[in-house]
């Protein structure tokens, strides 16, 4: 399954990872080779086979709806690249019509 540069760029955008033109070329050939390999699953007939997403038959693990202590604000903000008061500080999200 060969990935075009256009597809790699699209995947990069979906993954929120900026790619240089050199990286697009390098990853395009590497990812294509890997996708070629995983395509071998097509050889298997899985009609009627239920997907297995979770390894063990555990379901709906719940606890009583009672508040429990969590991280204090200082702990939660402790690793923040930028913070202000009790907030994480981030760049302005532009108005509609701008990038993304």
């Amino acid at each position: 399954m060969a990935l075009s540069s256009k597809e790699v760029l699209k995947v990069g955008t979906l993954s929120r990872i900026r790619l240089t033109p050199e990286e697009v070329e390098k990853f395009s050939s590497q990812l294509s080779a890997i996708l070629d390999y995983v395509d071998k699953l097509r050889e298997l007939d899985t009609a009627g086979v239920e997907p297995l997403a979770h390894a063990l038959p555990i379901h709906n693990v719940l606890r009583p709806d009672e508040p429990r202590p969590g991280l204090a604000p200082e702990q939660a903000l402790g690793g923040a690249p930028q913070s202000e008061g009790d907030f994480f500080r981030v760049p302005r999200v532009l108005d509609e019509g701008a990038s993304a």
Binding site: G12, R16, F27, Q30, Y37, L56, I58
Partner: protein, 493 residues
């Protein structure tokens, strides 16, 4: 005998009998680390002052007659993808978490402390546990103590190397596709992946949530059993951890499993296996036959190539979701050259992640994306069920399954870095156990003519760790591989 030549069980006994102090044990390991780790680079960070403090505290409490715990005074290392809140960063060997201080301890770290262990340092890994050689670390590759030009395996290469080189007697690693078992094989130590859900993942930085498990490294089966007992058990903070009681894995460890039917899958001896590895592993199987076990040919038709394909869709899909949190907002690296918020995400992640992490995130994103979800992700989950069925059918006929852990011994640094797929195939015998959620162990079973360790993998059904350890011990008792130290570690610390 140097303290670093003692096993964890021997240290535990010596400390309990007051023939050795916790401080002496810690100092012995710190000296060995100082002497050898500049060449091996198993550790990303060490905490000598913290270790000395904790060791002194253990000694004080023991002198006061207190019961300090299962691991009282034993020095231990922790893979750097498990959160440690005091003294040391948790980096996952990534620039995106460079210097990051976790605000809480992982469950297993809490358990180590509660049982009196002395954490001496955090070990190197492939970035975010993605790799089979520890070459994907953003902070440099760890070297194999048996041959410094070769890799220790991965992703828990630092923990495996630290135990092999006798820098610490026991260490924790994590295994998503073989990341404990494969480095254990390449480094000549014991490494075990418990059943999924046996050990809490709270505080283990997530790579693939349905596959990740924390497990022990030791030079002996008893040491692995001890560390597993100390860390296993239900934790309500991990909703995938199970309420199965934790047996005393050391009790009854010496009792052989009889009768013992060993399944030998022909798929585990297929093309691509190094002939020396095959020969050494078949010799190990012959030892089990001499002990009265029956070797039963079985088939696991979906367990090798199809399992690798399944794994590299399922694990990467889960990773693309788990690693979405690294966006420069709440913690970790933030770029300084961005224009707006989306650009901040794009540049922070581009600058903070290494190539392998980017590849896997993109693969997973692609496999889950609209138009491809059914062909890739859903298909992979269907094959996962077939893999699970292969094992269910096998365990109806045999008590365990054995084969080589790795198709080759340790390869040279740089040998597989140009071809990601060649690297992925290192895990061909290990990934199926993660996909099926079952338990597996690698134990040393010999050496190649060139002096490189070979590992025997033993796999058993879910929640049978006690039996798995006893089966492993049967072989270890007959042979002496675990006594042999790498030349670099010979001589007193």
């Amino acid at each position: 005998m140097a303290v670093t030549d003692l096993t964890a069980c021997e240290i535990r006994k010596a400390i309990a009998e007051r023939r050795l102090s916790a401080v002496e044990a810690a100092e012995g390991c710190l000296r060995a680390i100082g002497r050898l780790d500049p060449k091996i680079k198993a550790f990303l960070s060490t905490d000598p002052e913290g270790a000395r403090r904790r060791a002194a505290e253990v000694d004080r409490r023991l002198a006061a007659g207190e019961n300090v715990g299962l691991l009282a005074g034993i020095p231990v290392a922790v893979k750097d993808n498990m959160c440690t809140a005091d003294g040391q960063p948790t980096t996952c060997a990534s620039r995106i978490l460079g210097g990051w201080r976790a605000p809480y301890d992982a469950h297993v770290v809490e358990r180590l402390k509660a049982e009196g262990a002395v954490i001496v340092g955090k070990t190197n890994l492939d970035e975010f546990a993605m790799g089979s050689s520890t070459e994907n670390s953003a902070y440099g590759a760890t070297r194999n103590p048996w041959d410094l030009t070769r890799v220790p395996g991965g992703s828990s290469g630092g923990s495996a190397a630290a135990v092999a080189a006798r820098l610490v007697p026991i260490a924790l690693g994590s295994d998503t596709g073989g990341s404990i078992r494969q480095p254990a094989a390449l480094c000549g130590v014991v490494g075990m992946k418990p059943t999924y859900g046996r050990v809490s993942r709270y505080g283990l930085v997530a790579f693939a949530s349905s596959l990740d498990q924390i497990g022990p490294f030791g030079r002996t089966v008893a040491d692995a059993a001890l560390l597993l007992r100390a860390t296993a058990g239900h934790d309500r903070r991990d909703s995938t951890s199970v309420r199965e009681p934790v047996p005393d894995y050391l009790e009854g460890l010496e009792e052989p499993v009889r009768p013992l039917r060993i399944g030998v899958p022909r798929e585990f001896f297929s093309a691509g296996i190094d002939p020396e590895v095959e020969s050494v592993v078949r010799e190990a199987l012959a030892v089990y036959e001499r002990l009265g076990a029956a070797l039963v040919p079985i088939m696991l038709p979906h367990s090798t190539d199809y399992a690798i394909a399944t794994y590299y869709i399922v694990a990467t899909s889960e990773a693309s979701s788990n690693l979405a949190r690294y966006d420069g907002v709440h913690y970790g690296y933030r770029s300084s050259d961005h224009t707006d918020m989306i650009d901040m995400y794009m540049r922070s992640r581009a600058q903070g992640f290494g190539d392998e992490v980017k590849r896997r995130i993109m693969l997973g994103t692609y496999a889950l994306s609209s138009g491809y979800y059914d062909a890739y992700y859903k298909k992979a989950l269907e094959v996962r069920r077939l893999i699970r069925r292969d094992f269910e059918q096998a365990f109806a006929k045999v008590d365990c399954i054995m084969g080589p852990t790795s198709p080759t011994p340790a390869f040279r640094v740089g040998e597989r870095t140009a071809d990601p797929l060649a690297m992925y195939l290192s895990d061909v015998y290990t990934v199926s156990a993660n996909l099926a959620a079952i338990a597996g162990i690698s134990i040393p079973c010999g050496f190649t003519a060139g002096g490189l360790p070979v590992g025997l993998q033993i796999i058993t059904d879910v929640f049978t760790e006690g039996r798995l350890l006893r089966i492993a011990r049967m072989y270890e008792r007959e042979t002496g591989w675990t006594k042999r130290a790498p030349p670099i570690a010979e001589g007193a610390a």
